[in-house]
C-alpha cells in the first residue's frame, strides 16, 4: 500500500468512523464531570449499550433496518442511562466514592454482557444484525478527497458531527448548562440559589450514561454490526483522557476524540503500510497523548472545582 490519495481517503474515513463512539461518550462525560461527578464507568456503559443495541436489532430482525437501528439506539441509551442511574445513586445520594462506584459498574457490565451474550447467541457466536443506515450526502460527497472522508457514513456519524456543537451551546448559553457548571464548581451556591444540586447532577450523570450507551451502539452497529464480549476494549477510558485533553469543553473534547480515532485508524493500517513502526506504538499513542495533555494542561485550565466531591447541605 502506498501513501497516496486513496490511502488518505481510506484513513480519514476510518478515523471518523472510529472516533464517532468516542465523541458521543465524551460529550456525555463532559457533562457529568462539569456537574461534579466523575464517571469512570463510561466503559461499562458503552459496553452495555453495544450489547443491548445488537440484541435489540437481532430480535427485530425482519423489520426495516432504519426502524430497527432506531429502536436499538434508544434501547442502548436506556441501558447506559440505567447503569448511570445506579452510579448516580451511589455517588450522589449515598456519597460513595465515585471511582469505586464507576469501577464496579464496569465489572458489572462486563459480567452481565458476557453472561447474556451466551444466553442469547449461545456458542453460535457472531451473527450480523441490521446496523445504522448508511447515507451518502449528495453533492457534498462529491468534493474531492474531503467528500468521501466526511460525507459518506452511517447515520450515527452525522449525529456525532452535530452533537458536540449542540452540547456546547446548551452548556454555555442556557440555564440548564449554567446550573450544571455551577453545580460542578460550587454546589453550595446552587443550593442557596434555590436549585437542586442533586437533580442537576443526576440529570448530567444519566445523560452521560445515555451518551455512552449510544456510543456503544455506534461502536457495534456503525460498522461491524455484531457484538463481541468486551468489545469496547478500553475505549471508555480513552474518553476520560479526551475530556481532560479537551479541557471539559464538548467541542475540544470531540477534536481530541478525532485525534485518537485517527491514531487508531493509522495503527490498523500500519502493518500493511510498512512504515517500520510496530503497530503497538500506534495503539499506545492516544493514551500517551492523554497523559501528556494532563501533565501539560496544568495552569491552563483546571477541572470543575467540586469534581469528585459529594455535596452535603449544611456543612461548613
Amino acid at each position: 500500500m502506498q501513501l497516496d490519495v486513496a490511502f488518505l481517503i481510506d484513513w480519514g474515513s476510518a478515523a471518523i468512523r472510529l472516533a464517532t463512539p468516542l465523541v458521543l461518550a465524551a460529550v456525555g462525560g463532559v457533562y457529568a464531570e462539569r456537574s461534579g461527578v466523575f464517571n469512570i464507568g463510561i466503559e461499562g456503559m458503552m459496553l452495555s449499550g453495544a450489547f443491548v443495541a445488537v440484541a435489540v436489532s437481532y430480535f427485530l430482525g425482519a423489520a426495516d433496518p432504519a426502524v430497527a437501528s432506531l429502536c436499538a439506539a434508544i434501547a442502548a441509551m436506556l441501558a447506559g442511562g440505567g447503569m448511570a442511574f445506579v452510579h448516580a445513586y451511589l455517588s450522589i445520594t449515598r456519597r460513595a466514592d465515585q471511582i469505586i462506584s464507576g469501577a464496579a459498574i464496569n465489572i458489572l457490565a462486563l459480567g452481565l454482557t458476557n453472561t447474556l451474550y451466551r444466553v442469547v447467541w449461545g456458542s453460535a457466536g457472531r451473527e450480523r444484525v441490521a446496523g445504522f443506515p448508511t447515507i451518502r450526502i449528495p453533492i457534498l460527497a462529491d468534493i474531492p478527497v474531503l467528500g468521501p472522508i466526511l460525507f459518506d457514513h452511517s447515520l450515527i456519524v452525522y449525529v456525532a458531527y452535530v452533537l458536540p456543537f449542540i452540547a456546547a451551546f446548551v452548556l454555555f448559553r442556557t440555564t440548564w448548562g449554567l446550573n450544571i457548571r455551577a453545580a460542578g464548581d460550587f454546589p453550595l451556591a446552587v443550593d442557596t440559589a434555590g436549585l437542586s444540586v442533586t437533580v442537576t447532577r443526576y440529570v448530567a450523570v444519566v445523560f452521560s450514561g445515555m451518551m455512552a450507551g449510544l456510543g456503544g451502539a455506534a461502536l457495534a452497529l456503525g460498522a461491524v454490526r455484531y457484538f463481541t464480549p468486551g468489545m469496547t476494549a478500553g475505549r471508555g477510558f480513552i474518553v476520560l483522557g479526551a475530556i481532560v485533553f479537551g479541557r471539559w469543553n464538548p467541542i475540544l473534547a470531540s477534536f481530541a476524540c478525532l485525534l485518537f480515532g485517527a491514531a487508531d485508524a493509522l495503527q490498523l493500517r500500519a502493518q500493511a503500510l510498512s512504515i517500520g513502526i510496530p503497530y503497538q506504538f500506534l495503539v499506545m499513542l492516544p493514551y500517551l497523548l492523554a497523559v501528556l495533555a494532563i501533565a501539560g494542561a496544568i495552569g491552563r485550565s483546571s477541572p470543575p472545582l467540586a469534581l469528585g466531591r459529594p455535596y452535603r447541605r449544611g456543612e461548613r
Partner: protein, 515 residues
C-alpha cells in the same frame, strides 16, 4: 421608650425559635423583631447562635419550635428558594458565588429566565449595571468571580439580593473581609437600603460597628436573647455585659514583661497568597525570649501568611526569617524550635481518625523514645499520652480515644500539649481561642502565659482585641501585609490600635496627634 418604633410596621418577626443539633441547643426560644426601614443588629460572640438563627431564616434548617412572621403573616421557609421568594436576601460570611462563572452569570443563577431555557445574559447584564450604578456599587459584570477582590465579591452578593427584589437583607459578619476603608462604603449602602423601606439584619460581634450603624440591637448569648434595645440607649459596656455575661475587664494578670535574647527575627519579608495577590508586603519583627507578642488586626491582612512563612509552610519571596538563627524550613522538623498552634485546630492541628496518643506524637514520633530503628514504640507513646493527659487536664475517655470525640477545648489542649512538649524556643498560636467557651479560653491563655514564663518567645495572633491586650507584653497591628506599628498593651492605646487597623501607620497617628 420605644414609641416611634411600635408605630413602624413590623417586617420580620422570628418568634421563640428553638433549634438543637443533637445534644447541642443552638437557639433557645429566640425572638427577633425587625421593623420596616430599620437596621437591626444581631450581636453575640462566636457560638452564640446567630448563624443558626439566620440559617433557619434562610431555610437551611427547620426550627424545632417557634414561628416566623413576615409582614404580619405567618410563613414557613422550607428552603433557600422559598426564602428568596419571600423577599429575604442573605449575604453570607462565605460567599455563595461560583468562582469560574462571571458576575452576571452568578447573579442570574437560579432565576427564572424570560425565554427559558435560553440565558438572557445581555438583559441581565444591563439590569446589573443599572443596579450597580443606582447604589454606587462598583462591580465588573463580565469578570469571573475568582478574579474579584473580597470586597468586590461582597458587593456582588448584595447586588444579587437586590436583583431578586429582597426586602429584608441579612448581612452575616460583612466587615470581616473588608478593609477598614471599605467599611464606610458598606454602611452607606445599608443606610440607603434602609431608607428605602427595607429591613436590614446586621450580624456582628464587633461592638463599635454595631453602635455606629444600627438602629436597634438584639444580643444573643449561648442561644438565648439577653437583651434587645434601641442602639442609642446602649453603651459599649452594657452590650458587652449582655454578650459575655460578666464584667469584661481588660485587667492583666501581670505587668508587661521585657524579653531577653532574640528568638524570632523577621526582616523585610514579602510573600504571596494562594491566589497570587500580595500577602506580606515588607514585615519587620523581632520577638524575644520570655515575652508574648500579640498580633492584632482585621482577619485577612496577612496574619495567616505570616504564620505560614514562619513555620516554613509558605515560601518567602523576599527578606529573611530566622528562628533561633535557623531558617523556617527547619522550624517544624527540628525539635525544640517551633511549636505551632494552627488556626483551624481540627483540619490543621489534629488527625480526627487518630487517637489521642497518636495525635500527641504527631511531631515527635520519629525520635526516641517513641521510635527506635524505624519501629514505633507504642508502649512509650501510650505512657506519654497518659502523662500529658494528666498534666494538661485533658478530659477524654483515655489515650486510645479517637480525638474527634473530644470537645473543642480539650482538642485544643491536645494540640498545645503536643506543641509544647519539647519546650520549643518559639511558640506561634494562631486564633487559639476561636470557637471555645469562656472556661476553655481561660485555660488556653493561661497555658500560653506558662510558656512565656518558662522562657519561650510567644507569638499570639488573634482578632479578639480584648484577649490580645490581656495576654500580650507587646502589641503590633497588621494591615494589608505589613506591620503598622507597635504599642504597649494598654487599654488607653485602643484608639491608636483601631486607627492602625484601619491602615494608618503609627508615625502618622502620633504626628497627627501632636499637631
Amino acid at each position: 421608650m420605644e414609641d416611634g418604633r411600635h408605630q413602624t410596621p413590623e417586617l420580620l418577626r422570628m418568634d421563640r425559635i428553638t433549634k438543637s443539633f443533637g445534644p447541642l441547643l443552638a437557639d433557645d426560644a429566640v425572638t427577633l423583631d425587625v421593623r420596616v426601614g430599620e437596621i437591626h443588629a444581631l450581636l453575640g460572640e462566636n457560638g452564640a447562635g446567630k448563624s443558626t438563627l439566620m440559617k433557619v431564616l434562610y431555610g437551611l434548617h427547620q426550627p424545632d419550635s417557634g414561628e416566623i412572621w413576615l409582614d404580619g403573616r405567618q410563613i414557613t421557609i422550607g428552603s433557600p428558594h422559598e426564602a428568596v421568594a419571600h423577599g429575604i436576601g442573605m449575604v453570607h460570611q462565605q460567599f455563595m458565588l461560583v468562582p469560574n462563572l462571571t458576575a452576571t452569570e452568578n447573579v442570574i443563577l437560579g432565576m427564572r429566565a424570560e425565554r427559558r431555557p435560553m440565558l438572557d445574559l445581555a438583559a441581565a447584564r444591563k439590569r446589573l449595571v443599572e443596579l450597580a450604578r443606582e447604589y454606587d456599587l462598583d462591580v465588573d459584570p463580565d469578570a469571573p468571580v475568582w478574579q474579584m477582590s473580597l470586597g468586590g465579591q461582597q458587593r456582588l452578593e448584595i447586588l444579587k439580593a437586590l436583583f431578586r427584589g429582597a426586602r429584608l437583607l441579612v448581612l452575616d459578619e460583612p466587615t470581616a473581609v473588608l478593609a477598614p476603608s471599605e467599611v464606610g462604603g458598606l454602611f452607606r449602602i445599608m443606610r440607603q437600603l434602609a431608607s428605602e423601606g427595607r429591613g436590614i439584619v446586621f450580624i456582628s460581634h464587633k461592638l463599635s460597628e454595631v453602635t455606629e450603624v444600627s438602629d436597634h440591637v438584639t444580643v444573643l448569648r449561648l442561644g438565648r436573647v439577653t437583651g434587645t434595645l434601641p442602639t442609642r440607649e446602649a453603651t459599649a459596656h452594657t452590650l458587652a455585659t449582655m454578650m459575655v455575661g460578666r464584667e469584661i475587664s481588660l485587667a492583666r494578670t501581670t505587668a508587661p514583661v521585657v524579653g531577653t535574647d532574640t528568638v524570632l527575627e523577621i526582616s523585610g519579608v514579602h510573600c504571596v497568597t494562594d491566589r497570587g495577590t500580595p500577602g506580606l508586603t515588607g514585615v519587620d519583627l523581632v520577638v524575644r525570649k520570655g515575652e508574648i507578642l500579640g498580633i492584632a488586626g482585621v482577619d485577612g491582612n496577612g496574619q495567616r501568611e505570616l504564620v505560614e512563612c514562619i513555620a516554613g509552610l509558605r515560601p518567602v519571596t523576599a527578606g529573611t526569617i530566622l528562628v533561633e538563627g535557623r531558617p523556617p524550613s527547619s522550624a517544624l522538623r527540628e525539635p525544640g524550635l517551633l511549636g505551632l498552634v494552627p488556626e483551624d485546630r481540627y483540619e490543621q492541628g489534629l488527625i480526627g481518625d487518630f487517637d489521642v496518643s497518636e495525635n500527641l506524637v504527631l511531631r515527635a514520633y520519629q525520635r526516641p523514645p517513641y521510635s527506635t530503628n524505624g519501629f514505633l514504640r507504642w508502649g512509650r507513646i501510650r505512657d506519654n499520652a497518659t502523662q500529658r493527659i494528666a498534666a494538661f487536664d485533658i478530659r477524654c475517655p483515655g489515650p486510645l480515644a479517637p480525638v474527634r470525640s473530644l470537645s473543642g477545648g480539650n482538642q485544643q489542649k491536645v494540640v498545645i500539649a503536643r506543641e509544647t512538649q519539647d519546650d520549643p524556643a518559639l511558640i506561634v498560636a494562631s486564633q487559639p481561642t476561636r470557637g471555645l467557651d469562656v472556661g476553655a479560653v481561660e485555660s488556653v491563655l493561661n497555658l500560653l502565659r506558662q510558656q512565656r514564663d518558662r522562657g519561650a518567645a510567644v507569638v499570639f495572633v488573634s482578632t479578639e482585641l480584648s484577649e490580645v491586650l490581656a495576654l500580650s507584653d507587646r502589641v503590633v497591628v497588621m494591615h494589608k501585609g505589613e506591620v503598622m506599628g507597635e504599642v504597649p498593651p494598654d487599654p488607653a492605646a485602643l484608639g491608636r490600635i483601631g486607627e492602625m487597623m484601619m491602615g494608618r501607620s503609627l508615625e502618622s497617628i502620633d504626628a497627627g496627634a501632636v499637631a
